[in-house]
Symmetry: C2
Subunit: 131 residues, 2 copies
DNA sequence: CTGTATCCCATATGATACTG
DNA sequence: CAGTATCATATGGGATACAG
């Protein structure tokens, strides 16, 4: 755990994997690596929210992708989906306890991104300037 | 920083962004979210390595994607590329200091993935069983 | 050995219209 | 309001052949 050789071994083990892999890293990354999953997790960190609220807070997501991403997060046990039997229906989404632990695990990455954003951008400029 | 409201604000700020965004989260995720970046960072954590070595350790990456991913990582200042003027040429890749700090920031996520892999897989099974 | 160019396909995402 | 269906498109990524 945390041991790099172990990680590498697992990564290689995951090569040529079938549908849903053996390698936990790839498995988790496949869910988180898409365009919206992480952003939704961050949004949901503030508490349970309805479909429409999320949509408004993320103006450039399509209805289709919001539905789909929320379904995947639910399927993976990171988010709960609660239908309130009103007319018209309202549906609330919230992080599960495991969703919250994932959020914690994402904290350092978040901080890294903010702390190094300038560095990354200037690296790009320098790189593009050469060539 | 680390404050969720701030994060959300930044995410929204990034909406409808131009080429290379204002939002550090999206900016970093775009680089890390592809199929190979994180895996290469983990591999390079073990030390500088040549193109061919990396290729052998990641049997299912195409030459094209290896080149491309390494170039992007280099462009973002996470990896250095050193050409040794031998015949034939040999090229070594290594993490930069910033690459190593990113690696550290990724540690918790790695651990989460391992710790919760079983949970995620059983969640999926349960979800798929219903419907 | 390392890297580029080309061609091709699968998939992810978006736009729009429709339904309970 | 929340979700589905359909169509269209962009992009990611693989295979292969070639080049310095």
């Amino acid at each position: 755990m945390g041991d790099i050789d172990t990680v590498v071994a697992r990564i290689q083990q995951g090569n040529g994997r079938p549908a849903e892999g053996v390698c936990p890293i790839r498995d988790v990354l496949d869910q988180l690596g898409d365009k919206w999953s992480m952003l939704l997790i961050f949004l949901l960190a503030a508490g349970a929210q309805r479909f429409g609220e999320l949509r408004r807070k993320l103006p450039d997501i399509s209805q289709r992708m919001l539905t789909q991403t929320l379904r995947d997060l639910t399927r993976n046990g990171l988010v709960t989906r609660t239908v309130h039997p009103t007319r018209p229906p309202s549906v609330e989404y919230a992080l599960t306890p495991q969703g919250f632990t994932l959020l914690d695990a994402l904290g350092p990455l978040l901080r890294w991104a903010e702390d190094h954003h300038d560095y990354v951008r200037s690296s790009r400029r320098r790189f593009d300037a050469e060539a």
